[in-house]
Symmetry: C2
Subunit: 436 residues, 2 copies
């Protein structure tokens, strides 16, 4: 199976665990069998590989997420990077060209496109294989997954099939209705549109060439910024007569808010936390080193991260976005392709961070115009290169770098260091990359 | 007026702002007229000086609090330090000897003893002056403050006076009664015992010499550890016939729990915090750099500090102690006589702290057996002395100190530094002080 996972959105609705640079799909919420925690991306990837060990998985995403994807999945997935946001049709055209030209997939092969963050069991991915097989047959140009509704939701789009068969041609689509209208749709056999569709690679490539003037993936990537914003629904689905839908009746949850996310937690506390006996329906998700103590609360979610602390009635947590938008502060935590960093102290003219490099990884060779830096190695071993000179470093070693000095560090084992940044107007923008 | 403030207790009931080394009286809860915040100790000291600018204020306390007292009040108060805890009679004997022998107060002068943390207005301290004057007259050996009860509390001891006059001899004392019994006491004119009493210094010195074999303050201090634990009530009050009580009808609050403390807050949020419109009766007290967002909560207190995060129904917050006792972790923040420090990162074999030295202050000259340290100066100027060698330091300077190396830093301006501690089993106990 060739599967494309669409990974979008900055996801402020799960603040403080998600923020402008960390999306919810990378937050490690889910306990695995060996008592570790995995993110939505890791969970979905693991499930796909369980169901189909030979699946070719490609993630279509923006630049901001590439580091986190490599950090969490290594090189096990292909990554098709949108140079900028241009809605779903250009995005699906780009990843389709990537599959054909970079991954070398035969245009006659089927491809399944699926969101990166459904909270589902393995049967969902078994269903994706059936979708892929059905698309391969060529009876229809698009094969969608239709989810059996469990209530007349106003949040989802609806697919009205021609018949109640397991596989049916689609009669029409309906956008988010009121509850009453949704009930009427459901009585006619309507299904939720879960955003999953399968097609023969050639089908979308042909559509792309019809609407966009490009030769191959490289060319499309190069001119991506000039493309019009247009949705896949508008450009393709609405004009396509031959669309089938396959019914899926398994578990399917959209964990987009704290309210729905906490429902999926198998235990009430992640991280250091204490609930007293008078707490009911309380969840703690704590990424900080210090404990959270909750007493006498009902239906409340508490989440703490280096970005901030949320304490919300679960129902109210859906309305978080404007409040988070009002919070202006620098990013306090980021995953990078080489590891991660966390801001541990902020002063007017200094910033202190803890840097963790994964074994075998290194930062870009870079310099800063407006700040000096000091590194103190606190664990592991590695090598620094400072203005071209390489030196081994170990615990206790101190490296001082004036503004303009070119530097990097290579981790031989996992390497942690405290980095003190000193200067006026310290900014992540002040970074010049250099060739080594 | 000679006034002794009794400053005791570690105060876990206001965790995470108070902890094993920071007592509630040092937490800056109260907004002042110039928009700064002051602690209970600072508030009480300011009120005393407003009412009586010439008052001689002495704080009787334990070693653990001396640094915080000097940090918050400078040298404006005398401090009588108990070498160890020995209940109230030895403590009051010791501070009385301190007043006579160290402060040189005439034994014929009256002294008022008062808790360090009443939440009161200036009229309370006016009343202390009257108590002092009354004690000076010598009609009674002890003059107590009796607080007019506002409800039949089960939390306080009661004083039954002989008459309803403003000043009356005491008939008897009653310990914490049930509400019904308390109502009966109140109908007989009973008053709450607020723990305030005045006496001629000589009176307590004589009692002390009767019960303890000592010559002067130095001698008493030296043998303090050998003294029996005995309360002032048991040793003195219960045997004394000549006790007067003066009625006080002003505001008097005991801010011992989050529930009562939040009632005294003039605004709902201290520090970075946002309450949405659906919050009612919610208080945020946030000492961290990152924001707290509260949504849809009722009658909840949220407090965050480097020690941890509390989210509690206000009513339930009185029952916090056993939960806090169960939390085992190192101290993350401490006030010192020279400034303060905060732990900003904890790893297995390293600890990173931010140190703030007040201008003109310095640490003890010290060394560590089992850890190396690195200092990075992030603001201010000063001088370091390392193994006897003094050097000026400014922003960006790095000082490395191996185990055994003797060191201190003297702040010329306010000086901040990041200190990275490296070693196995890092402990605050591993500190050897040296003469300079």
């Amino acid at each position: 199976m060739n599967i494309v996972l669409l990974s979008g959105g900055s996801g402020k609705r799960l603040w403080p665990l998600s923020n402008s640079i960390r999306s919810k799909q990378f937050v490690k919420f889910f306990k695995t069998d060996d008592d570790a925690y995995e993110s939505m991306v890791q969970r979905v990837f693991r499930q796909i590989k369980t169901v189909d060990p030979t699946a070719v998985v490609t993630i279509a995403t923006s630049k901001a997420q590439v580091s986190a994807i490599h950090n969490q999945l290594g090189d096990k997935v292909g990554v098709s990077v949108e140079p900028c946001r241009r809605d779903t049709f250009p995005a699906i055209a780009l990843v389709s060209a990537y599959l054909a030209d970079v991954q070398g997939i035969d245009p006659e092969e089927p491809v399944v496109v699926c969101p990166v963050d459904p909270y589902v069991e393995n049967d969902y991915f078994e269903m994706l294989k059936l979708l892929s097989d059905q698309a391969g047959k060529g009876e229809a140009n698009l094969v969608l997954m239709g989810i059996e509704p469990t209530y007349p939701s106003e949040k989802y789009g609806y697919i009205i099939p021609r018949s109640a068969d397991q596989i049916s041609f689609v009669d029409t689509f309906k956008e988010k209705p009121t509850a009453n209208v949704a009930e009427e749709y459901i009585s006619r056999g309507a299904l939720w549109n879960g955003g999953v569709f399968a097609y023969k690679l050639k089908y979308v490539l042909d559509k792309a060439h019809e609407l966009i003037d490009f030769t191959d993936y490289e060319d499309l990537y190069a001119k991506y910024e000039t493309l019009n914003r247009i949705s896949f629904d508008y450009a393709v689905v609405e004009n396509e007569k031959k669309i089938q839908v396959m019914r899926f009746a398994g578990q399917w949850k959209d964990l987009g808010t704290w309210n729905t996310l906490t429902e999926a937690m198998t235990e009430p506390v992640i991280g250091k936390g204490i609930l007293n006996d008078n707490c009911q329906g309380v969840n703690i998700i704590n990424e900080m080193d210090v404990p959270v103590l909750a007493m006498g609360l009902h239906d409340v979610v508490i989440s703490a991260s280096p970005e901030g602390i949320l304490v919300s009635d679960k129902e109210q947590s859906s309305y978080i976005k404007p409040y988070v938008d009002s919070i202006v502060q620098q990013v306090m935590f980021a995953e990078k392709s080489w590891g991660s960093y966390q801001v541990i102290d902020v002063e007017d003219r200094s910033l202190t961070i803890k840097v963790t490099l994964n074994a075998g990884h290194s930062m870009n060779y870079h310099s800063h115009r407006n700040r000096d830096e000091v590194w103190v190695v606190i664990s592991g071993t590695g090598r620094t290169i400072v203005d071209g000179m390489e030196q081994s470093v170990q615990v206790g070693d101190v490296v001082t770098m004036g503004a303009g000095c070119r530097h990097t560090v290579i981790a031989d084992t996992e390497l942690k260091l405290i980095e003190v940044q000193l200067g006026e107007a310290i900014s992540v923008e002040d970074k010049q990359k250099h060739e080594l």
